[in-house]
């Protein structure tokens, strides 16, 4: 009996052709899932404001104001706030103070993140460096910000550098751990395969370790960024030439509840927006994941 010949490798087309999104069932399903996710997000936000509103209606205005009043406070004080100038902050509004805070957070995150990622990835591959780095990171990571922030203020003074350094310090510490774990989680088969193509350590770092760790590192960066806002505002409250922390300090002295809530909303919204931007960037650079 003669068996039929083995099928030759055809040129398979497994990829879904880019059809009209409305007609393609796969795309329709994705669209539906996104709509459901978006509706849950909107419901969550509505619940938050609903609870806030209900609480504000039960408490005196000296304790809690409604979201609408906080929103009005943002609207009237965003470009210029006379009450803040009383505290020596100059002719400022929430907008310019926010710019200072954003600038410090992003500068600190970029510097600390870069240092942390480099040390994390290198220490995951170089045993001697790991032996040195691990205890240092462990010790630095346990220093409470309540201790570190005043120390930095004493050492470097009331200058923007102090807050940037504090954010960079904690970002680096966190990113060492995230990057180390990301590098360890890469399947060793990739590096082994690269070695069989003649790839040395430098090529493996550039083409295997760095791209392969991107998704996990971005996840770590998002957590670090979320923490950085709190650190920056706290450091500014302790002592800074500008920033949302200084606004919060001034408004606390004035017992201005609507202003305080306005500041909290501004920082929270900024944190969410930067997180969304970081996520969008991650989806672009790690489209393969």
């Amino acid at each position: 009996m003669k068996f039929p010949p083995i099928a030759r490798p055809s040129d398979p087309t497994p990829l879904r052709p880019r059809l009209d999104a409305r007609k393609d069932p796969g795309n329709r399903r994705v669209l539906r899932q996104r709509l459901i996710s978006a509706s849950y997000t909107v419901a969550g936000i509505a619940l938050f404001f609903g609870v806030w509103w209900a609480a504000a209606s039960q408490l005196p205005r000296s304790r809690l104001v409604t979201p609408l009043e906080a929103g009005y406070d943002i609207w009237t004080n965003f470009l210029y706030s006379p009450r803040l100038s009383v505290f020596g902050l100059g002719k400022v509004g929430y907008g310019s103070l926010l710019l200072y805070t954003v600038g410090n957070v992003l500068t600190g995150l970029v510097i600390g993140g870069a240092i942390g990622i480099l040390i994390g990835i290198a220490s995951a591959r170089l045993r001697l460096l790991r032996v040195f780095v691990d205890p240092v990171v462990l010790v630095l990571g346990t220093v409470p910000v309540l201790v570190a922030a005043p120390l930095f203020l004493l050492w470097f003074g009331v200058v923007p550098f102090t807050q940037v350094l504090l954010v960079a310090f904690y970002s680096a510490t966190m990113m060492v751990l995230f990057s180390q774990r990301a590098a360890e989680n890469i399947d060793p088969v990739y590096e082994r395969w690269a070695m069989t193509f003649g790839a040395g350590l430098d090529v493996r770092i550039r083409h295997i370790l760095i791209p392969g760790t991107v998704p996990e590192i971005v996840g770590g960066l998002r957590i670090t960024l979320a923490s950085a806002w709190g650190l920056e505002v706290f450091a500014e409250i302790l002592g800074a030439p500008s920033g949302m922390g200084q606004a919060i300090k001034a408004l606390t002295n004035l017992n201005n509840v609507s202003g305080l809530l306005a500041c909290v909303v501004i920082v929270a919204v900024t944190a969410i927006v930067t997180d969304i931007l970081l996520l969008a960037l991650a989806r672009r650079v790690a489209a393969w994941a």
């Binding site: 009996m1 003669k2 068996f3 010949p5 083995i6 099928a7 030759r8 490798p9 055809s10 040129d11 398979p12 087309t13 497994p14 990829l15 399947d187 088969v189 990739y190 082994r192 395969w193 690269a194 070695m195 069989t196 193509f197 003649g198 790839a199 090529v203 083409h207 295997i208 791209p211 392969g212 991107v214 790690a286 489209a287 393969w288 994941a289």
Partner: protein, 254 residues
């Protein structure tokens, strides 16, 4: 096809491991063999008998305690571009597009971008993946990723190809298709192949020679004098069946 000068020589190779409890496991014991240019050598054996260890030592990914491995008369001291490797595990880089995966070895060797692209596209066509050159590996099936791995290794043009049960995790039909792809590429390029498998039929379908590794040593070393390319009928001849029974006996099935 084979010349008299071996392209690969393994002499008195000994490899052992230390278990967590401190006991020694001898993976390879005084293994010696010679492989000649153009041969398709199948290393057959049961799991845990040393065939992958042998391949890893030849690939330079594992050191030996005793003996030596020489490739083209030079000692093997580590991985090198003269030995391409296809692993059983999916090693295709998920963060590179298919054509970039195929061109990776060329990129490491600083081949110009235009030339890389040309060679990459050419090899993707050979394995039937032209239409997915710009796809991400996650968009491909397991069998297609195996083809990408084959194309990547052949694109780098190593004289020796080492394959460690590359089709072991694939379904029967895909495995047969990929065997045909590999055999065609081998016949087209004339490379020397060292192919680890635990599948007697696979060894008989692909190999010009079969070496049975048993308990860390070589139990059998036979040429397979059957026409190439082979059909199922070709291996069902009296000579083919006799060899099959012998191989099954060595791996403990008969």
């Amino acid at each position: 096809m084979a010349s008299h000068k071996p392209i690969l020589a393994v002499r008195d190779l000994g490899v052992s491991f230390v278990r967590a409890d401190g006991t020694h496991v001898v993976a390879l014991n005084s293994v010696s063999l010679e492989v000649f240019p153009g041969e398709f050598v199948c290393i057959l054996g049961r799991s845990g008998h040393g065939k992958t260890t042998l391949l890893n030592v030849v690939a330079g990914l594992l050191g030996a305690q005793r003996g030596e491995v020489r490739v083209m008369e030079g000692p093997v001291t580590g991985p090198g571009i003269d030995r391409g490797v296809i692993f059983q595990q999916d090693a295709v880089f998920p963060w590179m597009r298919v054509e970039d995966n195929v061109a990776f070895g060329l990129r490491v060797r600083n081949v110009s971008k235009r030339e890389r692209l040309r060679i990459s596209r050419e090899h993707l066509a050979l394995v039937g993946l032209s239409s997915v050159a710009r796809a991400w590996p996650r968009e491909l099936s397991g069998g297609m990723r195996a083809r990408v791995a084959i194309a990547a290794v052949f694109a780098n043009d190593p004289p020796i190809l080492l394959a460690d049960e590359p089709f072991g995790a694939l379904d029967y039909v895909t495995r047969r298709q990929l065997q045909a792809v590999l055999r065609d590429l081998w016949q087209r390029t004339g490379k020397t192949v060292l192919f680890v498998t635990h599948d007697v039929d696979e060894a008989m379908m692909l190999g010009t020679r079969v070496i049975v590794v048993k308990n860390g040593g070589i139990a059998e070393d036979r040429a397979i004098d059957l026409p190439m390319p082979r059909s199922d009928d070709d291996v069902a001849t009296p000579e083919g069946l006799a060899l099959k029974h012998l191989l099954l006996h060595h791996i403990g099935l008969e």
